[in-house]
Symmetry: C2
Subunit: 549 residues, 2 copies
Amino acid sequence: MMARNEPNLQIRVMSRRRNGAISILVMSAIMISSMRVVAASTAAKAVAASTPPLADKPARHKRLNIESISNNLKAMEYAVRGKIAIEADKISEELKHPSPSSSTKYPFDHIIYTNIGNPHAVQQKALTWPRQVMALLQLPDAIGINHPEAHRLFPPDAIERARQMKASLGGHGIGAYTHSKGVREFREDVARFIEERDGARRGSVDVENIFLTAGASEAITMVMTALIKDSSCGIMIPIPQYPLYSATLDLLGGHKVGYYLDEQSIWGMNIEELERSLAEAKSNGVNVVALVLINPGNPTGQVLSSQEVKDIVSFCARHNLVLLSDEVYQENVYRDEDEFFSSRRAADELGLIENDAIQLCSFHSVSKGVFGECGQRGGYVEMVGIPEDVNDCFYKLAASKLCSNAPGQAMVSLMCKGPNRGDVSYESHEREKMAVFEGLKDRASIVSQGLDNIPGFSCQPATGAMYCFPSVHMPPGAMRASNEMGMSPDTLYALDLLQTKGICVVPASGFGQKEGRFGFRTTFLSPEMRTVVDSIRDHYEQFCAKYAD
Amino acid sequence: MMARNEPNLQIRVMSRRRNGAISILVMSAIMISSMRVVAASTAAKAVAASTPPLADKPARHKRLNIESISNNLKAMEYAVRGKIAIEADKISEELKHPSPSSSTKYPFDHIIYTNIGNPHAVQQKALTWPRQVMALLQLPDAIGINHPEAHRLFPPDAIERARQMKASLGGHGIGAYTHSKGVREFREDVARFIEERDGARRGSVDVENIFLTAGASEAITMVMTALIKDSSCGIMIPIPQYPLYSATLDLLGGHKVGYYLDEQSIWGMNIEELERSLAEAKSNGVNVVALVLINPGNPTGQVLSSQEVKDIVSFCARHNLVLLSDEVYQENVYRDEDEFFSSRRAADELGLIENDAIQLCSFHSVSKGVFGECGQRGGYVEMVGIPEDVNDCFYKLAASKLCSNAPGQAMVSLMCKGPNRGDVSYESHEREKMAVFEGLKDRASIVSQGLDNIPGFSCQPATGAMYCFPSVHMPPGAMRASNEMGMSPDTLYALDLLQTKGICVVPASGFGQKEGRFGFRTTFLSPEMRTVVDSIRDHYEQFCAKYAD
């Protein structure tokens, strides 16, 4: 959540502030480490004296305290909703409920959240047809698909699809637990989707290898839970990367084995760098078990060519690494010359699937693409080359959570299988999808070019995904001031941008970057992005003046 | 998932069977342990030789294999969807798609699933009004709450509530990520619900201490993740218990510190037994950090009196244990003389909250009660006495998963706050809830008395929750046969019941029980339960004859 070298600030910013509570918390943070031994022995005495009165124990004797909880949880960092976002929420609350003292504090009237790929929060509309089907799935038959006036609100192809999906749900509706891997027929929709996308033989994707999950995040966590057997294990992750990977490795106590993307070649990957990273980790005694590929990239937006994907898949096969292929932005490819090429397809064309010579888990989600249905929490993982007994362990883990939410599973099915060509909603559904896509495509170039044109900024073209990841030259005064304040220079920058312009970005240090580079990640989702770019330009001038030396 | 002493069977039953695959898998299971060392060194060589050909590595060299995955995951057991349920699914598939050879194999035409508290899967209907609101939340405004003909399908109080909830969602709808703790206004509904239920002062429940989660399971896992710092930590769990607790402890590598419920006093709890269990664990060097209370009980159905709850809360305060209070069956209390009494209320009345002398996490869910909305995956945890910096760590963990599904959050809000008295849907909503409740209440006594009347069975009254947990006398032949087959006697019993009657129960050994006791858990949800009890009686006679000696 923040850099390890800023403990006081961590406590300060992570705490919910109420009147006067901040200073006390900062004090406790400073005091805790020196008090640890004393507190522990006092606690032991308190337990031994197993009689009341109970009421006067001070808070630090509590069983569940910041010293007693899992170190891995404590160490875990997650930048996207970290320090800057928490500060933004605080300001947002102040703006909504201004007190007499704070009402003129900020020169803006709302926060523009560009920190998170959350399209519906920045005015992207839900697609009509999938939502009509979802609504019908919620309604009991008699007042939904069988209501005599249902046709007044719902088109026939939504009613028909809801009827089919209710049959797939065994007539139980979405109120029943499903199979722990997800509704079988919905997984079949996923399987057909993958086969069509990759030009694979019909039936070549096995539904038993597909798990429907609460977004891709849950699937990624599930697989990593199995992979990290002990603290000697590590997983190769790109630098920069989406911080779920580092956060989950922190939580599981595994090694983060970073490999660098090449900023100058639009954040390209090269095999030499993968070999270097792997060799270095091995020489440090790390048992490297897997590699994370994010294509299209997050936060970097690169779209890999078929050859690049094949090279990476071959690298994994050669070194017997499980490939974790994060493909949640597969629909978000903006240049005519680019095409999404899945890791599965690469493995297939290399003969690695037929020969059972690759282990691959690929992740997808309804949260991105043109659906942008983040709040529905629907996603899937397809596993290739995973032994049945290991698959059974994943099933066991999924079963202990019973199942992922049935509406989210339904949304995955609707993403994978839209209205049929010729159905009444087909044209409008395609038109709506295209409108979202074109909007994203336009803003991708407006924002990346706009940022690249700011003197002191450098921003690669956003060829995919939903983000720009510019580097920003830090004036000398900002370097010094941030050092004195115990935060990274780009955290200082992002905080200043938030406080003066109301724009919430994520410091690049939260994703990882080369030593000496600074910058941030912004989405390009908001229709306000032109104004945002102007504000960022304006702010940077002021920032450079403020921190000139 | 199954007893540790039946490895071969574990592999056999856990594996998805395809033509002829079983025997191969059983063989591999036997071979694996002797091959482990060889395989590891061969794998090391394979990695060192980092050149193609890649295609001919045998499966056991794969990076992700049953030997290389997390031991904790491998060891984890989860009975509710374990061996018997997997076998039931297999038979169910065979019945749906009979082959010429198998068509006359079973003397029943469908499986009756009584293994899992999944009300909608056994004909319980969704409540109308909440589903109407949920449907409107899915529909974009123009074709939902603002559609000129919306009133033809939806009552005005559903439209009005959906309008309010959409405002709470910031106008973004359920397609956007929410705050990671859940939508603030929905958490306020939870807070008011708790205050009213417990007769607490309005405003005494802090929304910052409430997290909305994907069912109670996610909340329980979240809290336990923080509590188990290392393998010295343990949590007290009832015997018998809901296997999520033991499974999660397995996964996190913590100790299961069992305390026995007293079957003869309707599965009551007594403090002496808690003291005994705690003292024994401490003397074994276990750092006991928390106690799990399930009230009303699962699988046992006991409803604790206010004094019993107070005694347990005091015990936790005295020994500085975090109390994990699983209260998902709080609405499922069937005897007139019983009343649900929450742990929070007990702590409050004892002055422990005011004096900050208790740490309590209480869990609730939309899956049980009279909603039974398992598939929607909505739940919450309210935390009491948890330091802010620890709360912030929970927030960080929730943030790394972004948020729980927004429709599930909405369902929690609807459970906590129904239509207002006087609104058009108020009466019908109450009537529907009462009908579900009365049905459950009737079946609770029909099933528990029916089972108790079977010679050789003993079944305590089901005063709460959704389950009966009879003990079953095992004939000598069953003891011997199960031993020979490497499974627990009640697993043999449950398998035989499944194969001859098509009834799927969970062997009691999956929940834990006193040495020498045998039995099973059945829900009493299905309207077919009278027939089920007759079938169980009938089967037991045959079973006793078959395994007489």
